[in-house]
Subunit: 348 residues, 2 copies
């Protein structure tokens, strides 16, 4: 298996990315890695890897790309001027390798809008999909997780696209997590049938019309708080809403952990408690930052592409690479293609 | 001052509501309270109040109402069949008192959809407002708070209504919190001008066209995580999005506090830490459940109406009553009316 990596674009620069790739390489001793970025810098970073990570460097191919997509570039800029960036070349290596051996999946910590736009052009979407969706798995109260999608690749999604999201989320839960009949719900402002806007109610009717043919167990509407309850495998919403929920959750988790720490440091017994509690708080912080620690999948493309959080450390980027390897092993894009060709017609 | 209370509709029943009213009464010794609900039950609860709360009972008038709006009733049901419910009669007492002395503000812990619908009919909205918005104050990292609106009274809001929300949020931050020029932002999927859906970009253009006439300091777009950063006083979004953000935040906060507790209880030192940490965790839990502890205001009505969280204990209901008293003291509806008549024309 070969994984293509965009070395540029992470907030912490190439060292964190390359460190993450090396960690993932140690976990997957048969995988090879194509590293797209400035070759001199990549080579220097590889030579600095400590043992046992350094041994993995022999499975990494450096693919020189000196241009990169900046974090504040627009999707339009990336499409017009980004052909030679590390991101575009990484994506191109998944389909028509230009001078390098082709890769099975790609990972980037760069600009999300540019990644979605370039992936659409360079890789293309599956037959019935118009735009890819972004999804990540959110930790829940009972230790299971719930896939939330879309996280911002699509705003103002029509009902048919929400149905696509539901199908794609269900296929991911089946393939990657082995859940036979995933429990899927539509995010709404209430669980009663009369609640919500036109689009959500239309999507609900479409899903119900799929009936027994559906590969998932439809739970109807769910509210924002249900995301964390543990009784859903997939929660579907428009990208505007999913983005707001994800980013506010990240912000709240950060604030909460800060507050817990501050509370413990305010008094003498508090400081003692704070000291004892530090490892637990650190673990908590990691669990609660799902994108940083799990990566987010771009679903509906003809190849596997995973977006790592921009601010990821090496561990976070490692998870994103492992995620990509898992999706390739499970032939996720192929299984998505089968399901998406098969089902949407029934719900029209 | 006279505050009308819907005694029915809270998940914990009349005892929590009446306990909360009594606490608020002790804090505001000149206020009177009209209690709408089954008179026999209310009288029994009042007689059970311990000292010093019992002394406040002399300032409470029992207004018999045996019908009530159930938590799962639809707005349509409330409008058709709810005229004699404790909620409708409480609201009516704010405008055309039927047999009871009129009240200055109303508080209910009941069904939100019914409360919005009945309030629109019984009280009416301010001249330029078509539908009320729901807002609550969210705690932030630096101890200040941020008003988030709308929380679900409006879905599929057009741009002009988002501008209304911005104005109303700004007036609340001015009147209740004394912020001379509140910092207001529009929630979006990114801060760049090219981001987001049509409606949000339209609202952005409308607000920018208001220019210097604006009573607030417009910050442009903000992302979900900015809600908790402490540099915004008001964050504006459609009710579908706000509801998802609020409810997912409540769910996440609950999960986080549980996790912190569980982490501390898993080992021996952990149990010690957990024991020492208990008061801090309790405080944290309260801070992080904004609606339960602050109540949510219905803005844009011609009278003050505050919605307490359905699951509120006496303390939470007390805060909601105090919130209503503050809004009356600050003549919030009148100041909203002045601002809303004055400004929207300039942004058309």
């Amino acid at each position: 298996m070969r994984i293509a990596i965009d070395v540029m674009g992470g907030d912490l620069g190439p060292p964190a990315i390359i460190g993450g790739v090396a960690k993932a390489a140690c976990l997957h001793p048969n995988a090879q890695f194509l590293l797209f970025g400035p070759s001199r810098q990549i080579t220097a970073e590889l030579s600095r890897l400590p043992q046992p990570l350094a041994a993995a460097a022999s499975r990494m191919v450096v693919c020189d790309a000196t241009q990169f997509v900046s974090p504040d570039a627009s999707a339009a800029w990336a499409l017009r001027h980004g052909q030679q960036t590390s991101m575009a070349r990484m994506l191109r290596s998944l389909v028509h390798p230009d001078g390098v051996p082709g890769a099975d999946a790609g990972v980037s910590a760069g600009n999300t809008a540019a990644l979605v736009a370039l992936a659409r052009r360079e890789i293309g979407t599956l037959p019935t999909v118009t735009r890819p969706a972004i999804s990540t798995s959110i930790p829940t109260r009972n230790g299971r997780h719930c896939y939330l999608l879309d996280l911002g690749a699509n705003v103002d999604s029509p009902a048919q696209r929400l149905v696509e999201f539901a199908l794609m989320g269900a296929v991911v839960a089946q393939c990657v997590d082995g859940i036979a009949r995933p429990r899927v719900a539509l995010l709404n402002v209430g669980v009663e049938a009369t609640k919500g806007g036109r689009v959500v109610r239309e999507a609900d009717a479409l899903i119900r019309s799929m009936g027994e043919a559906s590969l998932f167990d439809y739970q109807g509407y769910a509210e924002g708080g249900d995301l964390f309850q543990g009784y859903l495998d997939v929660l579907v919403c428009d990208g505007f809403v999913g983005n707001a929920v994800l980013k506010s959750s990240e912000g709240l988790a950060r604030m909460l952990v800060e507050r817990v720490q501050a509370t413990f440091e305010s008094r003498l017994t508090g400081r003692l408690v704070g000291f004892l509690a530090r490892p637990a708080l650190k673990r908590l912080k990691q669990e609660l930052d799902p994108v940083r620690y799990n990566g987010a999948s771009l679903l509906g493309l003809s190849r596997t592409v995973v977006k790592s959080h921009g601010a990821s450390h090496a561990d976070g980027f490692c998870y994103a690479v492992v995620r990509a390897i898992d999706e390739v092993t499970q032939t996720l894009p192929e299984r998505l293609a089968q399901r998406l060709v098969q089902l949407p017609r029934r719900c029209e």
